[in-house]
């Protein structure tokens, strides 16, 4: 069994254990309402995390996803406040906005060979500021709380049966992206670019184009998440999404995508997202202070990374021993 499968089984097993413990401690945990809320919460982070996974596979990072959420929220708020356009008309525009932000990141990174962290940290600042500037203001110049009444738009925050639309979109997007990564040429290029850029270029892969595409997709996912967030909250604030990078990174890293690139996939991220959402939900259900959430998440990241490093060297040693034994048998 490969490292990846074992790792995943361990995570799922842990998740079942935690769920059982939570269900025992608080019967409300397993209620349909709570589970649907949990999934909805997970899908919000998860949609961003899907795009972020691709970035991390290329050994990059996108610090601007939270700010893309904020700007997208404000773009929607403006359309809702100042135009009577139907959601179907402006939501695609908002998503294109997310792609453009990602294209800017990718272009700076590849054209000027700048470090991904610096570029996306800078655009995080730019976009967060932009969100405040374009925010809908009242007569005194204060940011106004926009109450969303556009019915078409609010449907995006609604449910199909008991399941929130965003949850369905999350799983569909995850399945599609997984297929893209593992089964298409472009997906292969993403892995190759992250694992060994020099070899990828020598093999004829256009790594710059691959990177720009990946950052655009990350921007797109963040914008998509923003649309669902506004529709669900029935309002839009310029601080939406700011700081959510932490949760996104945690979900992706728990899912097994490494910072060194070339490794990881979307199923891991889905599991990581659900794991994280459950822990957060559990903290609330157990009546602990929500302020402990970041501490718990930070702790989980440390444990996961340490165990990963340890497990990898262990698996490498096992493989080397197996190889030696095979060689000895070959000689005998």
């Amino acid at each position: 069994m490969s490292i990846r499968v074992v790792r995943r089984l361990i995570l799922v097993g842990l998740m079942v254990l935690i769920a059982a413990a939570l269900a025992a401690a608080s019967p409300a945990f397993l209620g349909l309402d709570n589970l649907m809320t949990l999934l909805q919460d997970a899908s919000q982070t998860g949609i961003i995390a899907i795009g972020f996974t691709l970035v991390l596979i290329t050994a990059g990072i996108d610090m601007s996803v939270g700010a893309v959420v904020a700007v997208t929220a404000m773009v929607c708020a403006n359309f809702l406040e100042h135009t009577g356009l139907p959601a179907a008309a402006f939501v695609p525009l908002a998503l294109v906005g997310g792609c453009l932000a990602g294209a800017f990141n990718g272009w700076c990174i590849t054209r000027f060979r700048l470090p991904e962290f610096i570029v996306t940290l800078a655009s995080r600042g730019l976009l967060a500021g932009l969100a405040l500037i374009i925010a809908v203001k009242d007569a005194d110049g204060f940011v106004k709380n926009v109450f969303i009444t556009n019915e078409g738009f609010l449907k995006l925050g609604g449910t199909v049966g008991p399941v929130y639309l965003s949850v369905i979109v999350f799983f569909l997007l995850a399945a599609g992206t997984q297929f893209f990564l593992r089964r298409t040429k472009a997906g292969t290029n993403v892995y190759a670019t992250g694992a060994n850029p020099a070899a990828a270029r020598l093999s004829g892969i256009n790594t710059a184009r691959t990177l720009i595409g990946v950052y655009m997709f990350s921007g797109f996912c963040a914008a998509l998440s923003a649309v669902f967030l506004c529709a669900r909250m029935m309002t839009a604030m310029p601080d939406f999404g700011i700081g959510s990078e932490m949760d996104v990174i945690a979900a992706v890293v728990i899912g097994g995508t490494t910072f060194t690139g070339g490794e990881g996939d979307i199923w891991g991220t889905v599991i990581g997202t659900l794991f994280l959402a459950m822990v957060k939900n559990g903290i609330l259900k157990l009546g602990l202070s929500p302020y402990t959430q970041p501490i718990v998440i930070g702790g989980i990241i440390v444990v996961v990374v340490v165990v990963d490093v340890w497990y990898k060297s262990f698996a490498g040693a096992v493989a080397a021993r197996a190889r030696r034994r095979q060689a000895q048998r070959g000689q005998a």
């Binding site: 040429k185 093999s203 060689a327």
Partner: protein, 509 residues
């Protein structure tokens, strides 16, 4: 169809300074294994870089498979022509399967889509693997394959791109002997299928076993092309070194030094990289460690200095047991000048003063824990003056100095303290002749002051010249000691290559 696959004529090359290649003619025939040999710096890698389009040429013509290669050659053009390089640092993509690596960018797709037909991809790769008789599974992820198996994947990758000339630069340097034997089998298979192999190696027995023809380079000129029946290891070595005894002082007398032992190593073992290494270095002695790349030379000094762990063995320093650790080594008066100057030796953006200060912080820090700027500067002034570092400006960033002066800074770091043992690994790679001489003078001066010095070097004239005694390593073992009498470069090279019947047998006692 001509018999000649690659025809280079009159190749000249200089990187702005002296000529690296002068009027080199070089031909590779179809389906032959052609070895390219020469000492370090003879121009082998430059010639390969020109063929593969990594660097340009100043003059000369190149024809490959009947097509003239223009002046503006490129890596991509070389690849498209069918010239493939099997890189030493393997260029595979980890996390991917054997099939994905072999067929990267050439994946079979479902008709009319960009979706990869994984089953067909695995089948294509497996068919190819089987056709060449390799033992690999197409669907295995490469991460846990051995280095030899990965090399096979790399060869298959080149073959799937329709390579007709495969260039292998020291392909066996990181392989075990069984893996090497497998590689030779692969090379013979390639040859049977009409693929030419350009083989670069320092290991004479390999060249002897494998090659149909050998081209010998010396000082950037082609000195000989030998046919199969003319090839003998001793002859090749004679041609490589050539002007021995006449143009160069290449006979060197080993000198016995009887100072007290500074470092005693006993039974050092580390996996299959070091096997039972024992030796002693004495006060005032310069001990040379020779051998081919990958023979374990560097591993010995790294283990002794406490950088790499080892499995077994004891080390004594000045008679006291010493468990190697870098901090302990520095505290006892070791100095270490590493092999890769830019990566391990200097901090390029930092001043000479800063570089010299780092291993000496204990000497320049006040009791309260603050670094004394004036002491720091005084130290670096002393190093600059002692070693004649130019420009003599302690505030200059080391990265802006010439290679020779950078190396002096690396040495200078250790001269501030009470140095007992200096370890230098490839001390003069990439530095000019004048600076080389200065480095030799420094090493000699230190040994005269009673410092024990260990020199690791691939540069045979250098090794034979500055050492008082030479140990030659091969496959992790000490295979030869030159302690007394005269030693030539040939002797060392023969011992490194594992050839026992030398042509200088008559000189041996």
């Amino acid at each position: 169809m001509s018999d000649i696959l690659l025809d280079c004529r009159g190749i000249d090359k200089s990187y702005g300074g002296p000529m690296v290649l002068t009027d080199v003619d070089f031909q590779v025939r179809r389906g032959e294994v052609h070895a390219l040999v020469g000492e370090n710096g003879a121009g082998k890698s430059t010639l390969v870089k020109i063929i593969t389009g990594v660097t340009g040429r100043n003059a000369g013509t190149m024809v490959f498979d009947g097509k003239t290669i223009p002046e503006a050659h490129s890596k991509k053009a070389a690849q498209e022509l069918g010239i493939a390089v099997i890189y030493q640092e393997l260029s595979l993509i980890h996390g991917m399967t054997v099939a994905q690596n072999i067929l990267l960018t050439r994946e079979p797709l479902y008709r009319g889509t960009r979706i990869i037909d994984v089953r067909r991809m695995n089948r294509m790769a497996q068919e190819m693997i089987d056709r060449y008789g390799f033992k690999l599974r197409a669907a295995d992820v490469i991460d846990h394959l051995s280095i030899g198996q990965r090399q096979t994947v790399e060869i298959l990758k080149a073959l799937s791109g329709n390579a007709s000339l495969m260039i292998m630069d020291e392909p066996t340097s990181s392989l075990t002997s069984e893996e090497s034997a497998q590689l030779f089998e692969i090379i013979r298979t390639l040859k049977q299928r009409g693929i030419s192999v350009l083989y670069i190696s320092h290991r004479m027995e390999e060249v002897y076993q494998l090659s149909d023809r050998v081209t010998v380079l010396r000082d950037g000129r082609r000195v000989a092309v030998l046919d199969r029946e003319q090839i003998s290891p001793a002859e090749i070595i004679r041609l490589m070194i050539g002007r021995t005894l006449t143009e160069r002082e290449s006979v060197n007398r080993m000198v016995r030094r009887d100072g007290e032992p500074v470092l005693e190593v006993e039974g050092l073992c580390s996996g299959d990289r070091l096997r039972d290494i024992s030796f002693t270095v004495r006060r005032g002695e310069v001990l040379g460690l020779g051998g081919l790349v990958g023979s374990g030379r560097t591993e010995v000094v790294r283990a002794v200095y406490g950088i790499d762990r080892f499995d077994r063995g004891r080390v004594k320093f000045l008679g006291q047991p010493f468990v190697p650790s870098v901090a302990g080594a520095i505290a006892r008066g070791f100095g270490f000048v590493p092999e890769e100057r830019r990566l391990q030796g200097i901090m390029g953006d930092i001043s000479i003063t800063g570089n010299v200060a780092v291993p000496n912080l204990d000497a320049i820090t006040s009791r309260a824990g603050f670094v004394s700027g004036s002491k720091e500067l005084e130290h670096s002034r002393r190093a600059v003056a002692m070693l004649n570092i130019k420009p003599a400006d302690p505030e200059r960033a080391v990265g802006t100095l010439s290679g020779g002066n950078q190396q002096k800074v690396v040495v200078g770091k250790w001269l501030i303290r009470d140095l007992k043992l200096l370890i230098v690994d490839e001390p003069t790679v990439g530095i000019d002749v004048g600076a080389k001489e200065e480095i030799y003078t420094i090493i000699r001066a230190l040994s005269d002051q009673g410092v024990a010095v260990i020199v690791v070097s691939s540069d045979l004239p250098e090794l034979t010249r500055i050492s008082d005694r030479i140990l030659v390593l091969r496959q992790g073992r000490i295979v030869k000691e030159f302690a007394e009498g005269e030693v030539t470069e040939e002797d060392v090279l023969l011992a490194s290559s594992g050839i026992t019947t030398g042509i200088r047998a008559e000189v041996a006692p």
